[in-house]
Protein backbone atom coordinates (compact mmCIF):
# COMPACT_ATOMS: atom_id res chain seq x y z
CA UNK A 1 0.00 0.00 0.00
CA UNK A 2 2.50 2.58 1.12
CA UNK A 3 4.77 1.62 -1.70
CA UNK A 4 2.18 2.24 -4.37
CA UNK A 5 1.27 5.53 -2.70
CA UNK A 6 4.87 6.59 -2.63
CA UNK A 7 5.15 5.47 -6.23
CA UNK A 8 2.18 7.55 -7.26
CA UNK A 9 3.39 10.63 -5.47
CA UNK A 10 6.78 10.13 -7.05
CA UNK A 11 5.23 9.69 -10.48
CA UNK A 12 3.13 12.82 -10.33
CA UNK A 13 5.91 14.89 -8.80
CA UNK A 14 8.24 13.87 -11.57
CA UNK A 15 5.61 14.52 -14.23
CA UNK A 16 4.90 17.94 -12.73
CA UNK A 17 8.58 18.86 -12.73
CA UNK A 18 9.00 17.71 -16.32
CA UNK A 19 5.89 19.53 -17.40
CA UNK A 20 7.23 22.72 -15.87
CA UNK A 21 10.57 22.18 -17.55
CA UNK A 22 8.95 21.86 -20.95
CA UNK A 23 6.32 24.55 -20.48
CA UNK A 24 8.09 27.50 -18.90
CA UNK A 25 10.30 28.35 -21.87
CA UNK A 26 7.21 28.49 -24.08
CA UNK A 27 5.55 31.23 -22.05
CA UNK A 28 7.32 34.01 -23.88
CA UNK A 29 5.90 32.90 -27.20
CA UNK A 30 2.43 33.01 -25.72
CA UNK A 31 2.82 36.47 -24.23
CA UNK A 32 5.14 38.56 -26.38
CA UNK A 33 3.12 38.63 -29.62
CA UNK A 34 0.21 40.17 -27.76
CA UNK A 35 2.33 42.80 -26.07
CA UNK A 36 2.69 46.18 -27.75
CA UNK A 37 6.27 46.65 -26.60
CA UNK A 38 7.75 43.23 -25.87
CA UNK A 39 11.14 42.70 -24.24
CA UNK A 40 12.77 39.48 -23.10
CA UNK A 41 10.71 39.67 -19.95
CA UNK A 42 7.61 37.54 -19.80
CA UNK A 43 4.90 39.98 -18.85
CA UNK A 44 1.16 39.92 -18.80
CA UNK A 45 0.36 41.07 -22.33
CA UNK A 46 -1.91 44.01 -23.05
CA UNK A 47 -3.60 41.89 -25.71
CA UNK A 48 -2.92 44.03 -28.68
CA UNK A 49 -3.36 42.65 -32.16
CA UNK A 50 -1.36 45.39 -33.77
CA UNK A 51 1.63 43.12 -34.19
CA UNK A 52 -0.49 40.63 -36.09
CA UNK A 53 -1.78 43.44 -38.22
CA UNK A 54 1.81 44.32 -39.09
CA UNK A 55 2.58 40.75 -40.07
CA UNK A 56 -0.55 40.37 -42.14
CA UNK A 57 0.35 43.48 -44.04
CA UNK A 58 3.90 42.28 -44.49
CA UNK A 59 4.48 41.61 -48.19
CA UNK A 60 6.21 38.26 -47.80
CA UNK A 61 5.28 36.86 -44.38
CA UNK A 62 2.21 34.84 -45.25
CA UNK A 63 3.56 33.75 -48.62
CA UNK A 64 6.69 32.48 -46.94
CA UNK A 65 4.60 30.25 -44.71
CA UNK A 66 3.05 28.72 -47.81
CA UNK A 67 6.54 28.18 -49.21
CA UNK A 68 7.57 26.52 -45.99
CA UNK A 69 4.58 24.22 -46.26
CA UNK A 70 5.46 23.27 -49.82
CA UNK A 71 9.05 22.53 -48.90
CA UNK A 72 8.25 20.68 -45.70
CA UNK A 73 5.46 18.53 -47.08
CA UNK A 74 7.28 17.85 -50.32
CA UNK A 75 10.43 16.78 -48.54
CA UNK A 76 8.54 14.75 -45.96
CA UNK A 77 6.65 12.81 -48.63
CA UNK A 78 9.78 12.10 -50.58
CA UNK A 79 11.77 11.13 -47.51
CA UNK A 80 9.06 8.88 -46.11
CA UNK A 81 8.33 7.05 -49.35
CA UNK A 82 11.93 6.60 -50.44
CA UNK A 83 13.26 5.72 -47.01
CA UNK A 84 10.44 3.24 -46.38
CA UNK A 85 11.07 1.41 -49.64
CA UNK A 86 14.81 1.39 -49.19
CA UNK A 87 14.69 0.44 -45.52
CA UNK A 88 12.29 -2.38 -46.24
CA UNK A 89 14.47 -3.86 -48.93
CA UNK A 90 17.56 -3.45 -46.79
CA UNK A 91 15.84 -4.98 -43.81
CA UNK A 92 14.59 -8.04 -45.65
CA UNK A 93 17.25 -8.85 -48.18
CA UNK A 94 20.80 -9.59 -47.20
CA UNK A 95 23.09 -7.45 -49.24
CA UNK A 96 26.77 -7.79 -48.48
CA UNK A 97 28.19 -4.72 -46.79
CA UNK A 98 24.73 -3.34 -46.16
CA UNK A 99 25.35 -2.18 -42.61
CA UNK A 100 28.71 -0.63 -43.40
CA UNK A 101 27.15 1.24 -46.29
CA UNK A 102 24.38 2.58 -44.08
CA UNK A 103 26.79 3.75 -41.43
CA UNK A 104 29.00 5.40 -44.02
CA UNK A 105 26.04 7.25 -45.51
CA UNK A 106 24.85 8.30 -42.09
CA UNK A 107 28.23 9.74 -41.24
CA UNK A 108 28.48 11.53 -44.56
CA UNK A 109 25.06 13.04 -43.93
CA UNK A 110 26.50 14.85 -40.95
CA UNK A 111 29.06 16.61 -43.12
CA UNK A 112 26.40 17.78 -45.51
CA UNK A 113 24.35 19.49 -42.86
CA UNK A 114 27.38 21.48 -41.75
CA UNK A 115 28.22 24.98 -42.86
CA UNK A 116 31.21 23.84 -44.86
CA UNK A 117 29.04 22.02 -47.39
CA UNK A 118 27.35 25.16 -48.63
CA UNK A 119 29.74 25.73 -51.52
CA UNK A 120 29.53 22.25 -53.02
CA UNK A 121 25.76 22.18 -52.62
CA UNK A 122 25.38 25.61 -54.14
CA UNK A 123 27.54 24.81 -57.13
CA UNK A 124 25.92 21.44 -57.55
CA UNK A 125 22.52 23.08 -57.61
CA UNK A 126 23.71 25.52 -60.24
CA UNK A 127 25.21 22.78 -62.35
CA UNK A 128 22.04 20.72 -62.23
CA UNK A 129 19.86 23.72 -62.86
CA UNK A 130 18.19 23.34 -59.49
CA UNK A 131 18.86 26.84 -58.25
CA UNK A 132 15.89 28.99 -57.36
CA UNK A 133 13.44 26.11 -57.54
CA UNK A 134 11.45 24.44 -54.80
CA UNK A 135 11.89 21.08 -56.47
CA UNK A 136 15.64 21.42 -56.46
CA UNK A 137 15.71 22.41 -52.82
CA UNK A 138 13.42 19.54 -51.91
CA UNK A 139 15.73 17.09 -53.68
CA UNK A 140 18.79 18.47 -51.93
CA UNK A 141 17.15 18.45 -48.53
CA UNK A 142 15.86 14.93 -49.13
CA UNK A 143 19.32 13.68 -50.04
CA UNK A 144 20.68 14.97 -46.76
CA UNK A 145 17.90 13.53 -44.61
CA UNK A 146 17.50 10.14 -46.25
CA UNK A 147 20.30 8.19 -44.57
CA UNK A 148 19.10 8.97 -41.07
CA UNK A 149 15.52 8.26 -42.12
CA UNK A 150 16.44 4.90 -43.63
CA UNK A 151 18.36 4.12 -40.52
CA UNK A 152 15.43 4.82 -38.23
CA UNK A 153 12.83 3.14 -40.38
CA UNK A 154 14.96 0.08 -40.82
CA UNK A 155 14.84 -0.48 -37.08
CA UNK A 156 11.08 -0.51 -37.19
CA UNK A 157 11.12 -2.85 -40.17
CA UNK A 158 13.56 -5.16 -38.44
CA UNK A 159 11.31 -5.29 -35.40
CA UNK A 160 8.26 -6.26 -37.44
CA UNK A 161 7.58 -10.02 -37.37
CA UNK A 162 8.30 -11.57 -40.72
CA UNK A 163 5.29 -13.82 -40.36
CA UNK A 164 3.02 -10.93 -41.40
CA UNK A 165 4.72 -10.74 -44.75
CA UNK A 166 5.07 -14.47 -45.14
CA UNK A 167 1.42 -14.85 -44.41
CA UNK A 168 0.48 -12.29 -47.03
CA UNK A 169 2.91 -13.90 -49.41
CA UNK A 170 1.37 -17.34 -49.02
CA UNK A 171 -1.97 -15.73 -49.88
CA UNK A 172 -0.37 -14.55 -53.09
CA UNK A 173 0.38 -10.89 -52.38
CA UNK A 174 3.11 -9.31 -54.50
CA UNK A 175 6.03 -7.55 -52.80
CA UNK A 176 4.55 -4.14 -53.49
CA UNK A 177 1.19 -5.27 -52.18
CA UNK A 178 2.91 -6.57 -49.09
CA UNK A 179 4.58 -3.23 -48.54
CA UNK A 180 1.34 -1.33 -49.09
CA UNK A 181 -1.08 -3.58 -47.26
CA UNK A 182 0.98 -4.96 -44.44
CA UNK A 183 4.36 -3.38 -43.81
CA UNK A 184 3.42 0.27 -44.14
CA UNK A 185 0.46 0.10 -41.78
CA UNK A 186 2.44 -1.89 -39.25
CA UNK A 187 5.35 0.56 -39.16
CA UNK A 188 3.09 3.57 -39.51
CA UNK A 189 4.11 5.09 -36.17
CA UNK A 190 7.69 4.93 -37.36
CA UNK A 191 6.77 6.57 -40.63
CA UNK A 192 4.86 9.26 -38.77
CA UNK A 193 7.91 9.89 -36.62
CA UNK A 194 10.07 10.26 -39.72
CA UNK A 195 7.53 12.58 -41.30
CA UNK A 196 7.42 14.89 -38.30
CA UNK A 197 11.18 14.75 -37.97
CA UNK A 198 11.58 15.74 -41.61
CA UNK A 199 9.04 18.52 -41.36
CA UNK A 200 10.69 19.95 -38.28
CA UNK A 201 14.08 19.79 -39.95
CA UNK A 202 12.96 21.51 -43.13
CA UNK A 203 10.82 23.99 -41.26
CA UNK A 204 13.75 25.36 -39.32
CA UNK A 205 16.36 25.18 -42.08
CA UNK A 206 17.64 28.62 -42.95
CA UNK A 207 20.97 28.31 -44.73
CA UNK A 208 20.03 26.06 -47.65
CA UNK A 209 16.82 27.85 -48.68
CA UNK A 210 18.61 31.16 -48.27
CA UNK A 211 21.49 30.15 -50.51
CA UNK A 212 19.52 28.24 -53.10
CA UNK A 213 16.48 30.47 -53.49
CA UNK A 214 17.12 34.02 -54.64
CA UNK A 215 13.55 34.91 -55.42
CA UNK A 216 12.04 36.27 -52.26
CA UNK A 217 8.62 35.07 -53.40
CA UNK A 218 9.89 31.50 -53.10
CA UNK A 219 11.65 31.81 -49.78
CA UNK A 220 10.32 29.99 -46.74
CA UNK A 221 9.50 31.48 -43.38
CA UNK A 222 12.89 30.60 -41.92
CA UNK A 223 14.50 33.07 -44.32
CA UNK A 224 11.83 35.72 -43.90
CA UNK A 225 12.21 35.47 -40.14
CA UNK A 226 15.80 36.61 -40.54
CA UNK A 227 14.73 39.68 -42.46
CA UNK A 228 12.84 41.01 -39.47
CA UNK A 229 15.97 42.47 -37.97
CA UNK A 230 17.03 46.05 -38.34
CA UNK A 231 19.80 47.57 -40.39
CA UNK A 232 22.11 47.18 -37.40
CA UNK A 233 21.10 43.56 -36.78
CA UNK A 234 18.79 44.29 -33.87
CA UNK A 235 15.86 42.03 -33.26
CA UNK A 236 12.54 43.71 -33.78
CA UNK A 237 10.81 41.78 -31.03
CA UNK A 238 7.37 43.06 -31.93
CA UNK A 239 7.29 41.49 -35.34
CA UNK A 240 9.71 38.70 -34.52
CA UNK A 241 7.66 37.30 -31.68
CA UNK A 242 4.48 37.57 -33.67
CA UNK A 243 5.91 36.05 -36.78
CA UNK A 244 7.59 33.44 -34.61
CA UNK A 245 4.18 32.46 -33.30
CA UNK A 246 2.61 32.33 -36.74
CA UNK A 247 5.67 30.50 -38.00
CA UNK A 248 5.24 27.91 -35.26
CA UNK A 249 1.54 27.29 -35.71
CA UNK A 250 1.65 25.35 -39.01
CA UNK A 251 4.33 23.00 -37.85
CA UNK A 252 2.38 22.32 -34.68
CA UNK A 253 -0.77 21.74 -36.72
CA UNK A 254 1.09 19.37 -39.00
CA UNK A 255 2.33 17.48 -35.99
CA UNK A 256 -1.17 17.23 -34.57
CA UNK A 257 -2.50 16.08 -37.92
CA UNK A 258 0.13 13.43 -38.40
CA UNK A 259 -0.07 12.21 -34.84
CA UNK A 260 -3.84 12.06 -34.87
CA UNK A 261 -4.07 10.40 -38.24
CA UNK A 262 -1.15 8.04 -38.08
CA UNK A 263 -0.36 7.82 -34.41
CA UNK A 264 3.02 7.51 -32.82
CA UNK A 265 2.33 4.17 -31.23
CA UNK A 266 2.24 0.63 -32.34
CA UNK A 267 -1.12 -1.07 -32.38
CA UNK A 268 0.45 -3.57 -30.08
CA UNK A 269 -1.40 -6.20 -28.18
CA UNK A 270 -0.47 -9.29 -30.13
CA UNK A 271 1.24 -11.52 -27.66
CA UNK A 272 4.37 -13.04 -28.94
Amino acid sequence: MTRTWAGRIGFYTLIAVLLAFFTIPLLWLAAAPFTSDPTYEVRMPDFTFENFQTIIEHPYALGSLVNSLILAIGTALLVVVLSALAAYALSRVRIPGRDALLYALLLLSSIITGTAAMVPLFQLAIELGLIDSHTGLILILTGGLLPAAIFMIKDFMDATPKSYEESARVFGASPLQIVRHVVTPVVRPGLATIAVWTIANVWGNFLMPFLLLSDVEKQPAAVIMYTLYTEGGQANLRVLSTFGLLYSVPVVLMYLFVSKKYGFRFHGGIKR
Binding site: P161, S163, Y164, E166, S167, A168, R169, V170, F171, G172, A173, S174, Q177, H181, V182, P185, V186, R188, F266, H267, G268, G269, I270, K271, R272
Partner: protein, 356 residues
Protein backbone atom coordinates in the same frame (compact mmCIF):
# COMPACT_ATOMS: atom_id res chain seq x y z
CA UNK B 1 -6.68 -33.95 -55.96
CA UNK B 2 -4.39 -32.29 -53.51
CA UNK B 3 -2.02 -34.82 -52.23
CA UNK B 4 1.32 -33.44 -51.13
CA UNK B 5 4.34 -35.34 -52.26
CA UNK B 6 7.93 -34.67 -51.36
CA UNK B 7 10.73 -36.31 -53.27
CA UNK B 8 14.27 -36.34 -52.05
CA UNK B 9 13.65 -32.94 -50.51
CA UNK B 10 16.87 -31.39 -49.25
CA UNK B 11 17.43 -28.02 -47.64
CA UNK B 12 20.90 -26.79 -46.86
CA UNK B 13 21.21 -23.36 -45.29
CA UNK B 14 23.90 -20.99 -46.56
CA UNK B 15 26.01 -21.76 -43.50
CA UNK B 16 26.13 -25.42 -44.53
CA UNK B 17 23.60 -26.63 -42.00
CA UNK B 18 21.57 -29.46 -43.48
CA UNK B 19 18.05 -28.87 -42.23
CA UNK B 20 16.38 -31.50 -44.45
CA UNK B 21 18.22 -34.50 -45.74
CA UNK B 22 16.67 -36.05 -48.83
CA UNK B 23 13.17 -36.52 -47.49
CA UNK B 24 10.49 -38.58 -49.19
CA UNK B 25 6.95 -38.21 -47.97
CA UNK B 26 3.48 -38.45 -49.38
CA UNK B 27 0.42 -36.96 -47.72
CA UNK B 28 -2.70 -38.22 -49.49
CA UNK B 29 -5.62 -35.98 -50.30
CA UNK B 30 -7.76 -35.07 -47.33
CA UNK B 31 -5.35 -36.38 -44.73
CA UNK B 32 -4.63 -34.60 -41.47
CA UNK B 33 -0.91 -35.10 -41.18
CA UNK B 34 1.39 -34.18 -38.32
CA UNK B 35 5.08 -33.37 -38.41
CA UNK B 36 6.38 -34.12 -34.94
CA UNK B 37 9.78 -33.72 -33.45
CA UNK B 38 11.87 -31.86 -30.94
CA UNK B 39 12.83 -28.29 -31.69
CA UNK B 40 15.47 -27.96 -34.34
CA UNK B 41 14.60 -31.25 -36.00
CA UNK B 42 13.65 -29.55 -39.26
CA UNK B 43 9.90 -29.93 -39.05
CA UNK B 44 9.19 -26.22 -39.41
CA UNK B 45 11.73 -25.94 -42.22
CA UNK B 46 9.92 -28.80 -43.93
CA UNK B 47 6.57 -27.06 -43.58
CA UNK B 48 8.01 -23.76 -44.84
CA UNK B 49 9.61 -25.53 -47.76
CA UNK B 50 6.25 -27.03 -48.67
CA UNK B 51 4.79 -23.54 -48.43
CA UNK B 52 7.57 -22.16 -50.58
CA UNK B 53 8.81 -19.76 -47.93
CA UNK B 54 12.10 -21.62 -48.07
CA UNK B 55 13.56 -22.75 -51.37
CA UNK B 56 14.52 -26.38 -51.57
CA UNK B 57 18.19 -27.03 -52.21
CA UNK B 58 17.31 -30.32 -53.89
CA UNK B 59 14.37 -32.56 -54.59
CA UNK B 60 10.81 -31.66 -55.46
CA UNK B 61 7.57 -30.55 -53.87
CA UNK B 62 4.47 -31.78 -55.65
CA UNK B 63 1.05 -30.50 -54.64
CA UNK B 64 -2.05 -31.87 -56.27
CA UNK B 65 0.01 -33.51 -58.96
CA UNK B 66 1.79 -30.32 -59.88
CA UNK B 67 5.49 -29.80 -59.31
CA UNK B 68 5.61 -26.51 -57.44
CA UNK B 69 9.25 -26.58 -56.38
CA UNK B 70 10.00 -23.41 -58.35
CA UNK B 71 6.68 -21.73 -57.77
CA UNK B 72 6.22 -18.73 -55.50
CA UNK B 73 4.26 -19.43 -52.31
CA UNK B 74 1.33 -17.45 -53.63
CA UNK B 75 1.10 -19.73 -56.65
CA UNK B 76 1.02 -23.02 -54.81
CA UNK B 77 -2.63 -22.90 -53.87
CA UNK B 78 -1.99 -23.54 -50.24
CA UNK B 79 -2.83 -21.59 -47.09
CA UNK B 80 -0.91 -21.37 -43.89
CA UNK B 81 -1.54 -20.57 -40.24
CA UNK B 82 1.52 -19.23 -38.51
CA UNK B 83 2.58 -19.93 -35.00
CA UNK B 84 1.87 -16.34 -33.97
CA UNK B 85 -1.15 -16.36 -36.33
CA UNK B 86 0.28 -13.35 -38.20
CA UNK B 87 -3.00 -11.50 -38.02
CA UNK B 88 -2.49 -8.01 -39.38
CA UNK B 89 -2.73 -5.75 -36.35
CA UNK B 90 -4.08 -2.80 -38.30
CA UNK B 91 -7.00 -4.68 -39.85
CA UNK B 92 -10.17 -5.76 -38.11
CA UNK B 93 -11.19 -9.38 -38.03
CA UNK B 94 -13.34 -9.07 -41.10
CA UNK B 95 -10.57 -7.49 -43.14
CA UNK B 96 -8.11 -10.05 -41.91
CA UNK B 97 -10.31 -12.93 -43.00
CA UNK B 98 -11.05 -11.25 -46.31
CA UNK B 99 -7.43 -10.42 -47.03
CA UNK B 100 -6.64 -13.44 -49.23
CA UNK B 101 -9.68 -12.60 -51.31
CA UNK B 102 -8.56 -9.00 -51.60
CA UNK B 103 -5.35 -10.27 -53.15
CA UNK B 104 -7.42 -12.35 -55.54
CA UNK B 105 -9.26 -9.16 -56.47
CA UNK B 106 -12.61 -10.38 -55.21
CA UNK B 107 -14.93 -7.35 -55.01
CA UNK B 108 -15.22 -5.79 -51.60
CA UNK B 109 -18.82 -6.75 -50.93
CA UNK B 110 -18.29 -10.33 -52.01
CA UNK B 111 -15.21 -10.85 -49.92
CA UNK B 112 -16.79 -9.40 -46.83
CA UNK B 113 -19.78 -11.62 -47.31
CA UNK B 114 -17.44 -14.57 -47.50
CA UNK B 115 -15.60 -13.39 -44.42
CA UNK B 116 -18.87 -13.08 -42.54
CA UNK B 117 -19.88 -16.55 -43.61
CA UNK B 118 -16.60 -18.17 -42.58
CA UNK B 119 -16.46 -16.09 -39.43
CA UNK B 120 -19.94 -17.20 -38.45
CA UNK B 121 -18.97 -20.80 -38.98
CA UNK B 122 -16.15 -20.35 -36.48
CA UNK B 123 -18.28 -18.42 -34.00
CA UNK B 124 -16.68 -15.05 -34.69
CA UNK B 125 -19.87 -13.12 -35.56
CA UNK B 126 -19.58 -10.84 -32.58
CA UNK B 127 -15.94 -10.05 -33.19
CA UNK B 128 -15.87 -9.12 -36.85
CA UNK B 129 -14.98 -5.47 -36.31
CA UNK B 130 -12.45 -5.94 -33.57
CA UNK B 131 -8.74 -5.61 -34.00
CA UNK B 132 -6.55 -8.66 -33.34
CA UNK B 133 -5.09 -6.90 -30.31
CA UNK B 134 -8.51 -6.97 -28.68
CA UNK B 135 -8.94 -10.74 -29.04
CA UNK B 136 -7.98 -13.60 -26.78
CA UNK B 137 -5.48 -16.18 -27.96
CA UNK B 138 -8.21 -18.66 -28.83
CA UNK B 139 -10.15 -16.07 -30.77
CA UNK B 140 -7.04 -15.07 -32.66
CA UNK B 141 -6.48 -18.68 -33.58
CA UNK B 142 -9.97 -18.98 -34.93
CA UNK B 143 -9.53 -15.82 -36.98
CA UNK B 144 -6.36 -17.26 -38.44
CA UNK B 145 -8.23 -20.43 -39.29
CA UNK B 146 -11.08 -18.48 -40.80
CA UNK B 147 -8.65 -16.60 -42.96
CA UNK B 148 -7.18 -19.85 -44.20
CA UNK B 149 -10.62 -21.27 -44.88
CA UNK B 150 -11.61 -18.24 -46.87
CA UNK B 151 -8.88 -19.00 -49.37
CA UNK B 152 -10.38 -22.37 -50.37
CA UNK B 153 -6.87 -23.59 -50.96
CA UNK B 154 -5.99 -27.16 -51.89
CA UNK B 155 -3.96 -27.72 -48.78
CA UNK B 156 -3.51 -26.13 -45.38
CA UNK B 157 -0.29 -25.83 -43.47
CA UNK B 158 -0.37 -25.12 -39.74
CA UNK B 159 2.78 -24.16 -37.89
CA UNK B 160 2.38 -25.06 -34.21
CA UNK B 161 -1.24 -23.98 -34.29
CA UNK B 162 -1.85 -24.62 -30.59
CA UNK B 163 1.39 -23.55 -28.99
CA UNK B 164 0.22 -20.01 -28.28
CA UNK B 165 -2.81 -21.14 -26.31
CA UNK B 166 -2.94 -21.90 -22.64
CA UNK B 167 -3.25 -25.53 -21.58
CA UNK B 168 -6.99 -25.57 -21.01
CA UNK B 169 -7.80 -23.90 -24.30
CA UNK B 170 -5.39 -26.14 -26.12
CA UNK B 171 -7.48 -29.24 -25.45
CA UNK B 172 -10.63 -27.57 -26.69
CA UNK B 173 -8.87 -26.24 -29.73
CA UNK B 174 -7.48 -29.69 -30.46
CA UNK B 175 -10.92 -31.18 -30.68
CA UNK B 176 -12.21 -28.20 -32.61
CA UNK B 177 -9.39 -28.33 -35.11
CA UNK B 178 -9.79 -32.03 -35.72
CA UNK B 179 -13.52 -31.67 -36.22
CA UNK B 180 -13.03 -28.77 -38.57
CA UNK B 181 -10.49 -30.61 -40.66
CA UNK B 182 -12.75 -33.59 -40.90
CA UNK B 183 -15.60 -31.39 -42.09
CA UNK B 184 -13.55 -29.48 -44.61
CA UNK B 185 -11.68 -32.51 -45.86
CA UNK B 186 -8.74 -30.39 -46.96
CA UNK B 187 -5.30 -31.95 -46.91
CA UNK B 188 -3.64 -30.45 -43.86
CA UNK B 189 -0.08 -30.69 -42.63
CA UNK B 190 0.67 -29.36 -39.20
CA UNK B 191 3.82 -29.03 -37.22
CA UNK B 192 3.99 -29.67 -33.51
CA UNK B 193 6.54 -30.50 -30.89
CA UNK B 194 3.86 -31.96 -28.63
CA UNK B 195 3.49 -35.69 -29.17
CA UNK B 196 0.12 -35.76 -27.43
CA UNK B 197 -1.19 -33.20 -29.89
CA UNK B 198 0.09 -35.19 -32.83
CA UNK B 199 -1.35 -38.42 -31.51
CA UNK B 200 -4.69 -36.83 -30.77
CA UNK B 201 -5.25 -35.01 -34.01
CA UNK B 202 -3.35 -36.59 -36.85
CA UNK B 203 -4.54 -39.24 -39.24
CA UNK B 204 -0.91 -40.03 -39.83
CA UNK B 205 2.26 -38.50 -38.61
CA UNK B 206 5.96 -38.28 -39.26
CA UNK B 207 8.43 -38.17 -36.38
CA UNK B 208 11.51 -36.19 -37.29
CA UNK B 209 14.98 -35.91 -35.88
CA UNK B 210 17.89 -33.87 -37.24
CA UNK B 211 16.51 -33.45 -40.73
CA UNK B 212 15.44 -37.05 -41.10
CA UNK B 213 12.06 -38.68 -40.77
CA UNK B 214 12.43 -41.42 -38.18
CA UNK B 215 8.99 -42.94 -38.54
CA UNK B 216 5.84 -42.41 -40.49
CA UNK B 217 2.60 -44.01 -39.44
CA UNK B 218 -0.77 -43.68 -37.82
CA UNK B 219 -0.77 -42.50 -34.23
CA UNK B 220 -1.55 -46.02 -33.07
CA UNK B 221 1.36 -47.49 -34.99
CA UNK B 222 3.75 -44.87 -33.77
CA UNK B 223 2.57 -45.22 -30.21
CA UNK B 224 2.44 -48.99 -30.09
CA UNK B 225 5.39 -49.88 -32.24
CA UNK B 226 7.94 -47.08 -32.22
CA UNK B 227 10.39 -47.90 -34.99
CA UNK B 228 13.41 -46.93 -32.95
CA UNK B 229 14.38 -45.89 -29.47
CA UNK B 230 14.28 -42.21 -30.49
CA UNK B 231 10.63 -42.41 -31.37
CA UNK B 232 10.00 -44.71 -28.43
CA UNK B 233 11.40 -42.19 -26.02
CA UNK B 234 9.76 -39.21 -27.72
CA UNK B 235 6.22 -40.53 -27.98
CA UNK B 236 3.96 -41.07 -25.01
CA UNK B 237 3.03 -38.87 -22.11
CA UNK B 238 4.95 -41.19 -19.81
CA UNK B 239 8.27 -42.25 -21.24
CA UNK B 240 8.69 -45.83 -22.39
CA UNK B 241 10.75 -48.13 -20.20
CA UNK B 242 13.89 -48.80 -22.19
CA UNK B 243 15.91 -51.35 -20.28
CA UNK B 244 19.20 -53.08 -21.08
CA UNK B 245 18.63 -56.74 -21.76
CA UNK B 246 20.72 -59.81 -22.56
CA UNK B 247 19.38 -62.83 -24.43
CA UNK B 248 19.57 -65.94 -22.24
CA UNK B 249 18.08 -68.88 -24.07
CA UNK B 250 14.40 -68.18 -24.64
CA UNK B 251 14.30 -65.48 -22.05
CA UNK B 252 15.66 -62.02 -21.71
CA UNK B 253 17.52 -61.02 -18.63
CA UNK B 254 16.47 -57.53 -17.67
CA UNK B 255 17.65 -55.95 -14.41
CA UNK B 256 18.22 -59.30 -12.91
CA UNK B 257 14.75 -60.55 -13.84
CA UNK B 258 13.92 -63.11 -16.47
CA UNK B 259 11.31 -62.06 -19.01
CA UNK B 260 9.91 -63.93 -21.98
CA UNK B 261 11.00 -62.80 -25.44
CA UNK B 262 8.25 -60.57 -26.83
CA UNK B 263 6.11 -62.02 -29.58
CA UNK B 264 7.36 -59.52 -32.13
CA UNK B 265 10.97 -60.62 -31.72
CA UNK B 266 10.52 -64.37 -31.47
CA UNK B 267 13.15 -66.21 -33.44
CA UNK B 268 15.08 -63.12 -34.32
CA UNK B 269 17.52 -63.02 -31.42
CA UNK B 270 20.90 -64.61 -30.83
CA UNK B 271 22.09 -66.06 -27.55
CA UNK B 272 24.03 -63.64 -25.38
CA UNK B 273 23.11 -60.63 -27.56
CA UNK B 274 22.81 -57.30 -25.80
CA UNK B 275 19.59 -55.47 -26.61
CA UNK B 276 17.24 -52.87 -25.31
CA UNK B 277 13.93 -54.09 -23.98
CA UNK B 278 11.12 -51.56 -24.35
CA UNK B 279 7.69 -51.53 -22.83
CA UNK B 280 5.37 -48.67 -22.12
CA UNK B 281 4.24 -48.20 -18.51
CA UNK B 282 0.68 -48.43 -19.82
CA UNK B 283 1.43 -51.94 -21.06
CA UNK B 284 2.54 -53.30 -17.68
CA UNK B 285 0.34 -55.24 -15.37
CA UNK B 286 1.10 -54.42 -11.78
CA UNK B 287 0.63 -56.83 -8.98
CA UNK B 288 1.33 -56.69 -5.28
CA UNK B 289 1.77 -60.46 -5.27
CA UNK B 290 4.75 -62.23 -6.80
CA UNK B 291 4.12 -63.19 -10.42
CA UNK B 292 6.33 -65.05 -12.85
CA UNK B 293 8.09 -63.10 -15.55
CA UNK B 294 7.76 -59.85 -13.71
CA UNK B 295 10.10 -57.01 -12.97
CA UNK B 296 10.33 -56.92 -9.22
CA UNK B 297 11.34 -54.09 -6.96
CA UNK B 298 10.37 -51.69 -4.20
CA UNK B 299 7.94 -48.83 -4.91
CA UNK B 300 10.02 -45.64 -4.78
CA UNK B 301 7.77 -43.05 -6.40
CA UNK B 302 4.05 -42.66 -6.82
CA UNK B 303 2.65 -40.15 -9.27
CA UNK B 304 -1.03 -39.40 -9.58
CA UNK B 305 -2.17 -39.24 -13.22
CA UNK B 306 -5.80 -38.67 -12.34
CA UNK B 307 -7.61 -41.88 -13.27
CA UNK B 308 -4.43 -43.89 -12.73
CA UNK B 309 -1.11 -43.81 -10.97
CA UNK B 310 2.38 -44.03 -12.28
CA UNK B 311 4.38 -46.33 -10.07
CA UNK B 312 8.17 -46.36 -10.18
CA UNK B 313 9.90 -49.52 -9.00
CA UNK B 314 13.53 -49.80 -8.14
CA UNK B 315 14.49 -53.06 -9.84
CA UNK B 316 18.02 -53.85 -8.80
CA UNK B 317 19.04 -50.25 -9.27
CA UNK B 318 17.11 -49.79 -12.55
CA UNK B 319 13.98 -47.66 -12.43
CA UNK B 320 10.96 -49.23 -14.07
CA UNK B 321 7.58 -47.52 -14.43
CA UNK B 322 4.10 -48.97 -14.63
CA UNK B 323 0.64 -47.47 -14.80
CA UNK B 324 -1.74 -48.75 -12.15
CA UNK B 325 -5.47 -48.17 -12.45
CA UNK B 326 -7.41 -46.21 -9.88
CA UNK B 327 -8.00 -48.10 -6.66
CA UNK B 328 -5.05 -50.44 -7.05
CA UNK B 329 -2.23 -48.12 -6.21
CA UNK B 330 0.41 -49.56 -3.87
CA UNK B 331 1.94 -47.87 -0.87
CA UNK B 332 5.39 -46.41 -0.99
CA UNK B 333 8.10 -48.87 -0.05
CA UNK B 334 6.12 -52.04 -0.61
CA UNK B 335 7.35 -54.71 -2.98
CA UNK B 336 5.78 -54.62 -6.47
CA UNK B 337 5.67 -56.93 -9.47
CA UNK B 338 5.23 -55.48 -12.96
CA UNK B 339 4.51 -57.84 -15.83
CA UNK B 340 5.00 -56.48 -19.37
CA UNK B 341 2.34 -57.41 -21.88
CA UNK B 342 4.06 -59.82 -24.21
CA UNK B 343 2.26 -58.54 -27.31
CA UNK B 344 3.25 -54.94 -26.56
CA UNK B 345 6.80 -55.37 -25.38
CA UNK B 346 9.47 -54.56 -27.98
CA UNK B 347 13.13 -55.27 -28.47
CA UNK B 348 15.58 -52.82 -30.03
CA UNK B 349 18.88 -53.76 -31.51
CA UNK B 350 21.26 -50.82 -32.02
CA UNK B 351 18.36 -48.49 -31.50
CA UNK B 352 16.18 -50.02 -34.21
CA UNK B 353 13.10 -52.16 -33.57
CA UNK B 354 13.68 -55.88 -33.97
CA UNK B 355 10.79 -57.06 -36.05
CA UNK B 356 10.00 -59.57 -38.72
Amino acid sequence: MAAIELRGLTKVYPGGVKALDSLDLTVPDGEFFALLGPSGCGKTTLLRTIAGLETATGGAVVIGGRDVTGVQPGGRDIAMVFQDYALFPHMDVSDNIAYPLRIKKVPKAARHAKAAEVGARLGLEQLMDRRPGQLSGGQQQRVALARVMATQAQAFLFDEPLSNLDARLRLEARTFLKKLQRELGVTTVFVTHDQAEALAMADRMAVMEAGHIRQIGTPAEVFQRPANTFVAAFIGSTPMNLLDAVVRGDTLEVAGCKLPVPASAEGLLTEGEKLVYGVRPEYMTYSAQPVDGSLTGGVVILENLGASHLVTLDVAGVLVQAVVPEGHEPALGEQGYAVPRGDRALVYRDGELVTA
